[in-house]
Symmetry: C2
């Protein structure tokens, strides 16, 4: 059994630096495209056999050291009662964005085992099919990131509505964050009970805040989720995009592993995060358009700097891009395995 | 004459912290909207009397300590020979993006005095009308930021085409950056000759790069522009959005003033930038949706931290948002003048 990823999460000594790629099960793979061609994205997420098949694809094709559940961060938002659509080339659309207390009142705290049973089923299939080949990572969006979609009604440029609510009606904002926090705890616990062996919490948009706003309005909820989930005894990875300015706060989250984006030198991030957390990252997803030689150079640089942390899990600094040549993703994984060997 | 802004740029002692706001001449002002209602944006930029009138509006309405030329960062791109349109709610569109050498060959290095004479004329009108009331800032986009628009054909999410060119055809990328650098030098020199008393270089998108890529592919061009323009003896402000991870490199630009965004604590930024540069920033533009009391609190915090720098010019961390209530912008300027007084 390849448990290198799990041991690295715990900061244990490992034979080589493990690697997986955010969004590794996805659009850049022709094998995914052929399944996707007949079905819409949300149906795929909700069909356990297919979601499991897609989850497994990169394990075989790339040779990564962990599988991550094929799903979407907005699944729990839909389970809370909001209608969710994915529009081609536009992304997620929530037609009734949350702007007042009545809208938050209407949100339910789902019973994840029942209301997102397709996720439970997918995980069960996966644990059986994986036969401990590599560990399975479950995940959820973080409360702030999910709140932005719910308040803005989809993606956003300036997050004005989210910040307006946070600034002008913090009681309502906190009420929403509380409900999201309970939902995420239930959702991730359910994933662990079903068999997920690690969890990643994606805070894609937390980096749009000032460090002070992050500290006051976001971090307490993340800490609560992590301290609750610590009881489950599986490692927790907390990923924040655009993290460079708030690493000192992120450090306090209590996560075992901190995932960083590529817009900061990993050596600088380690210096700020200290010796108590494992680091995950941080190749620029666009670096996969480089030649294999140049990919190797960047891999070596990141691996070398990663050695100063308590532990290092190699990853991209954000999700792999749909345009990425598969052979370059394979070359990346090979390079990490080759140059990340500890002798 | 209120020359506090200019003295602050040079790191001299000033009676109070000066303040101006990026995009202070713009859509949040009803007085701007009423001029804009009959004319398209580019026509406004190219009509000196109107551009001058718009530039002056915030000086009177807000009481800021500097005026900044009303124009667009893409003006020199159009002067280089590319067709440029502004589509409502979409932003700038360049229908023939640059993807090969022939396209770069076709770009001219404009003679700014002739090819962008409307800017020269606007500045001359402004210096006359301002009567030294406050100094006038000229500006240009930085080479990388302009290159992204030229290569992507407009705004972008992941800047894949820009990075592909940078990674796969660095000779072509550098050729484009060289032409942009010469254009920007000519453009800013022309603005200074016309009467601009300070210059800001906007590198809105440089923060999407790894620190290494920024250092190798962007910084040398910025340094060249700044060292050339230093001959003009007017202070140079270099603003990079999403700067938190690359401040150590930005520090080497040679700029007199470094403008930062709001996603880093200004005290942390000052620590990284050291005592040789003046800092500009860094209130979150969305903070202008707060109550006046809360705006004051944030202003006091930033002013207090700003005191540890060589000098501090108060500003937002990005352009003022069109939805901003004018009275809050006024309250901000008043708060800076009140609490930024040195006794």
């Amino acid at each position: 059994m390849n448990d290198i990823f799990l041991r690295a999460c715990h900061g244990e000594k490992v034979e080589y630096t493990p690697v997986w790629l955010m969004r590794q099960a996805g659009r850049y793979l022709p094998q995914y495209q052929s399944i996707r061609s007949n079905l819409d994205f949300l149906t795929l997420c909700k069909t356990p056999e297919l979601a499991a098949e897609i989850t497994l694809q990169p394990v075989d094709i790339l040779g990564v050291d962990a599988a991550i559940l094929f799903s979407d961060i907005l699944i729990p938002v839909e389970a809370m009662g909001m209608s969710l659509e994915f529009i081609e080339k536009e992304g997620p659309v929530l037609r009734e964005p949350i702007r007042n207390k009545a809208a938050v009142d209407r949100l339910i705290i789902p019973d994840a085992d029942d209301d997102m049973s397709f996720v439970v089923d997918t995980i069960k299939i996966l644990r059986e099919k994986l036969k401990n080949k590599v560990p399975l990572i479950g995940f959820s969006g973080a409360p702030f990131t999910l709140a932005t979609y719910m308040i803005e009604g989809g993606g956003s440029k300036n997050f004005i509505n989210t910040k307006k609510m946070m600034f002008q009606n913090s009681r309502l904002f906190n009420y929403l964050m509380d409900k999201l926090t309970l939902t995420i705890i239930s959702y991730l616990s359910s994933q662990v009970r079903a068999g997920a062996q690690a969890m990643q919490i994606f805070d894609t948009w937390a980096g749009v805040l000032t460090p002070m706003d992050y500290k006051i309005s976001v971090l307490p909820y993340v800490k609560k989720i992590i301290s609750e989930l610590n009881k489950e005894r599986v490692p927790i990875i907390y990923f924040v995009n655009d993290c460079a300015g708030i690493l000192k706060e992120i450090k306090k989250s209590g996560a075992d592993v901190i995932g960083i984006d590529w817009k900061i030198d990993i050596a600088d991030a380690i210096k700020q995060l200290g010796k108590k957390v494992v680091i995950q990252g941080n190749l620029d997803p666009c670096a996969l358009f480089l030649s294999n030689e140049e990919i190797e150079d960047r891999v070596k640089d990141i691996l070398w700097k990663g050695e100063s942390a308590k532990g290092h899990i190699f990853n991209l600094g954000h999700g792999i891009l749909p345009e990425t040549p598969v052979e370059n993703a394979i070359a990346l994984v090979e390079a990490v395995h080759k140059y990340g060997r500890k002798d």
